[in-house]
Amino acid sequence: MIIWVMPDSGARSKEDYAELLALFKQAHPEIDASVRVFTRNVLWRRMFTIKNPAHGEEVPDLIQIPHYWTSLLVKEGVAENLSLLDPGLSLASCLSPLKEHCYQPGTKDIYSYPWWFDLSALHYRADHLKLVSSHPEEDLQTWNGLLNICEALREHFSTVPNYFPIQNSDWRGSLSMRSALPCIWSSGTDFLTPDHTKTLVATKAFKDGLRDYVVLALNNYMPILRERGSLGTMMSGKASMMISRKQGISTFSARRGMRVHTVPVPATGKESCAYLSGMNLAINRLSQHKQDALTFIKFCTRPDMQVRYAGMIEAFPAFEDAFEQFIFSSSQRLSTYTQILASARTLPNLVIVGSIMEILKKILAQSAAAIVEDRFTMASLDKALDMAAKEIEYLLSINEG
């Protein structure tokens, strides 16, 4: 059985997957399983060629997918109907925000099964922020408050080489659409209207939300397109804050003497929003090992494995029992994330959402390059969004939401 996954633990991903596979093989020695790690970009492209494999091209049995790819894979005929494979399969104990992303829209047929999820939040070094603010949690409630703190931190650490107030958590070291989502939602807007018939990408609120995020790089508060190894981290003292979807508390706790606080992502508009991103597992319809793949899914969703794996990759379990066990095991985790979870939003499970993300990702990549080369203007960003809106309208017209 071949499993295609993403590098969820960055450079440590292979080690983490090797550990997970070792546990699986202990429980199911009869199943031969191997893992291939692909970046999200590569995996996205492969989702469109998987159905027509070229000569000698590997066909996966199980695929890790972001939750909002489910309906696309159903439409393509790539994802197997899990309810057919096992009619007893249920999502009853799955956390409710994740459920609707597992079905073929409009049906109760399960096409992908939740594995884990993450939530965006702002982590900050208490010792650093104490130097510039007497009430950091209060100041960090708004985006302007965050920008003021960034400015103050930069001034305070002006003698520290290569210091940035915010550590860039994006693996590509660029502007990330997933990190921008809380800013956009907090501005009171979204990709699409609530009935999913029109796009809001060209609206002022959307543009403002994206601008707020871009400002972090534009004002040099957050490094972009820099050699990762050359950049300091919060732990090394070369950064003070990080907007991340990894909950990270255990990492920070491991560093003796360094207290890291976690708060909701500052609100660009009326209220703060967090991005809840689920990771699901889908079985390839062309697979010759569908029952083995299903066994792996059931293994990964066992409560003990949910807790263990979530701990390994700094994410959250997707099922109620495991989630409660995980979150109640740390009072800090419980108090921090209860509030953030309440404000969490997610991307809808629509066929075109992945395509919209690709369109906007490209705009952010162009913006990042323009910022580094000192030729970025907000007007160029707005223009790119206007063009994107037309493309999205076309996508909507051919896909009916």
């Binding site: 450079a11 972009i224 996508l395």
Partner: protein, 512 residues
């Protein structure tokens, strides 16, 4: 004897001396070898985008394995680093706290000495950048090591370049095989539409587009008639012209009216299908969902294929038109006898195979010769047209009428027994009986009437000839009884077998 450098180079060369399917396979072989040779902690491979001074991380190699990675590093603001990298082929990092070396992987053709003694390098291409890191022991790279790394880098560059060339050649081969396969589909398809559906599915499968669509024009090449499409699901969809959005219809017009060989609107490519001035349709393809770029080779190949496709569609349409003309009677627009006979034989075969009834009606217009003589041939033709129109409007889709000759017509009624055939015959009698011949010269108004003879498979006969014969005999019975009616053979069999065609009928037959 080899010195150490030559020996290492030789070993490395031998290590890479194999066929790699793609860059990834090659790097998975080369990077670990480098790591082991120089006791590196990590080796990274970047794509080099010179136009944007961007290093785009593709793969990382550490410990025992390699892994896909993604990271973009802009070196636009580091002119010293860039200069060193481009001119020396190596550059040390300016801001890492541990030893790390960037190596430009550059492919070049062997230099050539010109007549004037100048040494000239004709082709040079940058194929990527490696970053070699030693962060555990902070051991610096010595000059000897850097020399060796550069030499091995050249070996990797050449292999990368060769692999790219192999890949491109394989891709070309795949494309030409695909196009060849697609071309043969046309030849093996009986109907144009079946062929087109297979072609579109094939184009999507081979070229892996998200959508492939074919807009076909009407016979005049002015309007969209239909749109065939294959989407993400791989199934073929049909759209009528009224289902095409106004925006797309406008694009279609513009593509046709322009002399350009293609048009890109948003992420969709439109290629007009024209044969000389004849506009056949538009082929469009896109990666609208995946947002993947369409390769240049794919585009060019499809453009060439499109002209072949246009020609084939045009030929097929012409063939269909010719077939239509030869199968249908010009005056009545009913199928001709030859076409009817083919269909009749097919239907008898089907009825035998699946044990189904089948009926045949032979009819002619009563006193047709008199109508011609009294009202003129134009009215005679008009009568034939009115009768054939009535036949077409009264019959079912599956029924096949035909003009057998003169005023004689036949109707094949598949899956119809004798009693059902009589119902149809009655309906025809009433409808045609209501047609009044136009009076131009003060002649008395006259209604048309028809006589019909019916035979049924299998009761009356099991072959085409026997059914024709029985229906014909039933028709003579009707005529003998005074015309304007219908009869099923088995109802009048006794009378039909004793009756000889009347003299005046024979005479009329010969005059037709």
């Amino acid at each position: 004897m080899f010195d150490k450098k030559s020996y290492t180079l030789y070993k490395f060369h031998k290590h890479l001396n194999q066929s790699f399917q793609n860059k990834r396979e090659l790097l998975e072989c080369a990077l670990p070898a480098l790591r082991d040779l120089f006791k590196l902690d990590r080796v990274y491979f970047f794509d080099w985008r010179k136009d944007r001074s961007l290093l785009s991380l593709k793969m990382m190699c550490k410990k025992e394995y390699c892994m896909d990675m993604q990271e973009d590093i802009s070196v636009a603001n580091e002119p010293a680093f860039l200069r060193a990298l481009v001119h020396n082929g190596v550059a040390e990092t300016t801001d890492l706290s541990y030893p790390a070396l960037y190596l430009l992987l550059q492919w070049e053709r062997p230099s050539v000495e010109l007549r004037n003694g100048e040494i000239h390098t004709f082709m040079q291409e940058k194929v990527g950048v490696l970053r070699l890191e030693r962060f555990r022991k902070n051991r610096l790279f010595s000059d000897t090591e850097i020399d060796m790394i550069k030499a091995l880098g050249q070996e990797i560059s050449h292999n990368l370049r060769n692999t790219e060339i192999d890949q491109a050649q394989n891709q070309r081969l795949n494309v030409s095989t695909a196009l060849n396969d697609l071309s043969t589909i046309f030849a093996s398809s009986l109907r144009l539409n079946d062929g087109l559906e297979l072609i579109l599915q094939g184009v999507q499968r081979y070229f892996r587009f998200d959508r492939v669509r074919l807009f076909l024009t009407d016979a005049e090449g002015k309007k969209i008639r239909t749109v065939l499409g294959v989407g993400l699901s791989g199934t073929v969809t049909h759209q009528e012209s009224n289902q095409v959005s106004a925006e797309e219809a406008q694009i279609f017009k513009e593509v046709f009216n322009s002399s350009a060989t293609y048009r890109a609107v948003r992420s969709v490519l439109y290629i007009p299908l024209k044969v000389q001035r004849n506009k056949v349709g538009v082929l469009t393809f896109d990666n609208i969902f995946s947002r993947r770029q369409i390769g240049y080779l794919d585009f060019i190949s499809l453009q060439q294929f499109a002209s072949q496709m246009a020609l084939t569609i045009d030929n097929a349409r012409l063939f269909e038109r010719v077939q239509e003309l030869s199968n249908y009677d010009e005056l009545t627009k009913l199928p001709v006898r030859r076409y009817f006979n083919e269909k009749f034989a097919e239907e008898i075969y089907r009825s035998k195979r699946f044990d189904l009834p089948l009926s045949l009606i032979i009819m002619d217009i009563d006193w047709f010769k008199q109508i011609n003589d009294t009202y003129g041939h134009q009215i005679g033709d008009w009568a034939l047209q009115k009768v054939s129109q009535t036949l077409r409007s009264c019959l079912r889709q599956t029924d096949v009428p035909c003009r057998f000759g003169g005023d004689e017509m036949m109707i094949m009624l598949p899956r119809t027994n004798g009693e059902e055939a009589k119902v149809i015959a009655r309906r025809l009698k009433e409808k045609i009986g209501a047609i009044v011949v136009p009076d131009r010269d003060g002649n008395p108004p006259r209604r048309l009437s028809i006589s019909q003879g019916i035979s049924t498979y299998p009761q009356d006969g099991e072959t085409e000839n026997s059914l024709l014969e029985k229906a014909d005999k039933a028709l003579y019975v009707v005529k003998a009884r005074g015309r304007g009616d219908f009869a099923l053979y088995r109802d009048v069999a006794e009378e039909a077998e004793t009756l000889q065609p009347r003299e005046n009928d024979k005479k009329e037959e010969t005059e037709k």
